[in-house]
């Protein structure tokens, strides 16, 4: 007996170490090292020495200041609108009583299921020179530039705002409101004294998240920005157009600044929420109050109407002969005439599957191993694993091209391969995936594992037969999350695609560049179809899993 148990112990330890080391080495190689390279390149001078010359040069260039000014103005305007609209929708969903909330919930996630440039495409069909509005009313509205970009980004950022604010609203227990009610507080006072303080940090956080994703988003800026240069397009021009890698690195490092601030606020918000969460929250069930709910319902429907119009019109336009002159039904735009045709769609699906499978596996073994390490070490490594969220996709993409395009290390072999694109997609969304799986592990009852090992199962066996089935829903969610994000992401991969290796979002951009807007719409429709399909499959699997659980219990 003794021999068996001691051999088992060694094996378990080895397994734990392997589980932690492999994902961490990969994280170092595909996240930390590239980020280090960006930093070094930003202070590397043309003669090879180190210095702040690049920063001085960038800061004194008029192009940089113009782009910064534009990014700030556009980012702040987008922030105001999407936080306002997101706030209305979150309150409508969780604090008002009206019908058709399922529709709002369904439509609000649409922007997440499409490449970011789809909002821009939709706006062009709607409000562009050949848009229905200009045609119908005989107007000469010019949508390209500041307003087009702001509207597109507002719609793009809206789902995130709604999710962040909703998350803090659902933590507020119905009984808090009832206590206030019985103490004599009127509804408006309850809103001021309970709701507002509770979502204060969430609103602040949402504002920063919006600001960051808008100033670092590439897709909408490239399609609808027109002459209105912003930082994201500026990096692209510096790096791809002018091959000015070091200057690109400077802008990349600068884009990290707002993210760091946002990260700090989020942490603050999380601290505030600790100790607040009661174990069994009784969700708030609003009673119908006409003077509050009818205007709120109208506002919510108008906002989601805008999202539906902009995205829906892309799908619609892909099926009509000649926008906006001939609305006869046709499939002809689905015959992609650009070189490569649909190959990039298949490649993207393959890459996304790779990122999802590899990513889910790596995240699982990392979380599995981390929870078995001494607590201090584990906590430090958890902070590290949660870091990639702080890096905007475009900066990560820049880091990758600087790292993997350089022939100075053997990592160069990965350059131009699909593996690298799968890797960047995974590491771009590493944090969210990691946190989801960690949440799953934290809910795992320690007693189950102890029961299994008391019965003589080694750690590996326990993992497969007890832990995996328990956290399977989290793994499924993470798998599809990585898949869907990889399908639509553009900012992170824009630097890594080559004429031989394109991804779907880049193809859409090229189709639009080539003036084949209807084909761009058709291609977008295909991408959205794939993503919606996978979302459907995910929901199906998750509902089957929960049914099995109920059946077993």
């Amino acid at each position: 007996m003794k021999a068996v148990s001691s051999r088992g112990f060694d094996g378990d330890k080895l397994l734990t170490i392997t589980c932690v080391v492999i994902p961490l080495v990969a994280l170092a190689l595909f996240f930390l090292y590239p980020m280090y390279i960006v930093f070094i390149r930003s202070i590397t001078l043309p003669d090879g020495g180190l210095g702040l010359q690049n920063y001085i040069e960038t800061l004194s260039s008029t192009g940089f200041w113009r782009a910064t000014r534009h990014s700030m103005l556009m980012g702040l305007t987008t922030m105001v609108f999407s936080v306002l609209f997101g706030f209305i929708i979150a309150l409508g969903l969780h604090r008002c009583s009206f019908k058709g909330k399922w529709l709002i919930r369904a439509v609000i996630i649409l922007p997440l299921l499409a490449p970011s440039l789809v909002q821009a495409l939709g706006l062009i069909f709607l409000l562009g020179r050949n848009g229905v509005i200009n045609r119908f009313f005989g107007l000469e509205l010019d949508i390209y530039g500041f307003w087009g970009l702001t509207i597109a980004n507002t719609l793009y950022a809206l789902p995130q705002v709604v999710m962040i604010i909703s998350a803090s609203l659902v933590l507020l227990d119905q009984r808090l409101y009832e206590a206030a009610e019985i103490m004599g507080a009127k509804p408006l006072r309850q809103f001021r004294d309970l709701t507002l303080p509770a979502i204060y940090y969430a609103v602040l956080n949402a504002a920063f998240v919006v600001f960051i994703i808008t100033i670092t988003d590439f897709g909408n800026a490239a399609v609808i920005g027109g002459d209105y240069s912003v930082l994201a397009t500026e990096i692209y021009t510096q790096v791809i157009g002018l091959r000015n890698f070091n200057m690109g690195a400077v802008v990349g490092i600068m884009l990290l600044l707002p993210t760091v601030i946002s990260y700090y606020i989020e942490r603050k918000a999380m601290q505030r929420q600790q100790g607040k969460t009661s174990t069994n929250i009784q969700p708030f069930v609003p009673k119908f109050m006409p003077y509050r709910d009818i205007p709120m319902a109208i506002a919510c429907y108008l906002i989601i109407g805008a999202i539906l119009a902009v995205i829906g019109i892309v799908v619609y336009a892909s099926f009509v002969k000649l926008w906006p002159y001939n609305f006869d039904f046709t499939f002809k735009h689905f015959d992609i005439t650009l070189a490569g045709g649909y190959s990039s769609l298949w490649i993207t699906i393959a890459i996304s599957l790779g990122a999802a499978i590899g990513g889910t596996f790596l995240i699982f073994i990392l979380a599995f191993g981390l929870l078995r390490l001494p607590q201090k070490l584990s906590q430090a490594l958890q902070v590290l694993a949660a870091m990639p969220a702080a890096v905007p996709g475009i900066v990560l993409g820049l880091a990758y091209i600087l790292t993997f395009n350089s022939t100075s290390t053997p990592l160069h072999v990965l350059y131009g391969t699909a593996i690298l694109i799968a890797a960047i997609n995974f590491y771009h969304y590493h944090t969210q995936a990691f946190l989801t799986v960690m949440t799953g592990f934290r809910q795992f009852p320690a007693a189950l594992e102890e029961a299994s090992s008391t019965l003589g199962a080694g750690l590996g066996r326990t993992a497969i037969s007890v832990i995996v089935p328990f956290i399977a829903p989290m793994l499924v969610s993470v798998f599809f999350f990585l898949f869907m994000r990889s399908m639509v992401t553009l900012s992170a991969v824009i630097f890594l695609t080559t004429p031989q290796l394109d991804v779907a979002a880049v193809t859409i951009m090229r189709l639009d560049d080539a003036g084949l807007t209807s084909q761009a719409a058709a291609f977008s429709t295909c991408v959205m179809a794939v993503v919606c399909l996978s979302l459907g499959i995910m929901k199906l699997i998750l509902s089957m899993q929960s049914k099995n659980k109920v059946g077993a219990a």
């Binding site: 009984r175 009832e178 206590a179 019985i182 103490m183 004599g184 009127k186 309970l194 100790g275 607040k276």
Partner: protein
């Protein structure tokens, strides 16, 4: 009658949460609504508070109907199982919130808050936040918050259920002292019969949306009206009429008229006296020693019985004993299990 509920009915879809319920609370009285989960006791409390709309029936306070009066205008105080302190406010702000809403001057609020913190024996915590307190402390604060505005009725919704046994006992005593000192009419919902016995002037025992029996704790324990009450309030031996008639007919004296199925005998475990007797027709199956009492399981002509005696007892398993039951200790209870089963 200070507060009354008359013929209250509440439906949730096809589920009847409350079925024609009438209760009353006197000035200064401590009333417990007791029953298993889903019996409608919390719904009744929420109707009285004004948090849930009544389908039919009426709630009156000092003779005036509360119909249509929103919860915030009823002037009640409430404490929930989940403490439900406002997480963004300090303890002092929590306690003073009701006064602030009533536009009480700040210095008066402060005086009142200090007074209440002394009353709940937590004078040092005014500037802390709820998240920094233990469950027991939070619930004390919730109590202080509820009584800060001198409520016309104090409503307690399972206030002790989330607490550890030790804290629960302490807080139970404090609630009782506080209620006695302030004389606020209090209605408490609980599923714990021991809690109800210890606190209540009057217990209203509920099952399946209806009041089964209302009375003093003593009445409910000693004279349970139905099988349900007998079973829910402590342990009882419930025996069919025909069994009693065959083996202990002397107990039939107190039995009300009615079919055999209509009434069962209810004999409390401490009412059965046992003595070792080789010719006794009951057999000891097991003996559980619980310190202050012993719990003995018997097999007898009356069926399986539970007997409790004070302290330890000199018996062995499989020993024969004789039984003695005083007819006055045999209660006849309505067999409500028959009605609900059909």
């Amino acid at each position: 009658m200070y507060l009354t509920v008359r013929n209250a009915t509440k439906l949730y879809g096809s589920f009847t949460a409350l079925d024609d319920v009438s209760i009353s609370i006197e000035q200064g009285e401590f009333v417990c609504l007791l029953g298993p989960s889903g019996c409608g006791k919390t719904t009744l409390l929420r109707l009285i508070a004004g948090l849930t709309d009544i389908d039919s029936g009426e709630v009156t306070l000092e003779g005036e109907s509360l119909s249509g009066l929103p919860a915030r205008k009823r002037g009640f105080g409430i404490v929930f199982q989940s403490y439900s302190l406002f997480p963004n406010m300090t303890i002092a702000e929590n306690i003073g919130y009701g006064l602030k809403i009533r536009d009480t001057p700040v210095n008066q609020i402060n005086t009142r808050v200090t007074e209440l913190l002394d009353l709940i024996k937590l004078p040092q915590i005014a500037d802390k936040f709820p998240g920094q307190l233990s469950g027991g402390q939070q619930q004390r604060v919730a109590l202080a918050r509820a009584i800060a505005v001198d409520p016309r009725v104090l409503l307690l919704d399972e206030p002790l259920s989330a607490l550890d046994a030790k804290v629960r006992g302490d807080l139970r005593d404090e609630i009782l002292q506080l209620q006695r000192a302030l004389g606020i009419p209090t209605l408490m919902v609980t599923h714990d019969q021991e809690e109800a016995l210890a606190l209540a002037d009057k217990i209203i025992c509920m099952n399946q949306g209806a009041v089964v029996q209302a009375g003093t704790p003593k009445e409910l324990y000693q004279k349970p009206a139905t099988r349900f009450v007998a079973d829910f309030m402590g342990t009882s031996n419930l025996i069919k009429t025909e069994v009693i008639r065959s083996f202990m007919p002397e107990l039939l004296g107190m039995r009300p008229e009615g079919d055999d199925e209509l009434y069962d005998a209810c004999i409390r475990p401490e009412a059965i006296k046992i003595e070792p007797n080789v010719n006794g027709d009951a057999l000891v199956k097991s003996i559980g020693f619980l310190g202050n009492l012993s719990k003995i399981k018997l097999e007898s002509t009356l069926g399986d019985l539970i007997v409790e005696v004070h302290g330890a007892i000199d018996l062995e398993e499989n020993q024969n004993v004789s039984l003695q039951i005083n007819p006055a200790d045999c209660n006849w209870v309505l067999n409500d299990a028959v009605e609900t089963a059909s």
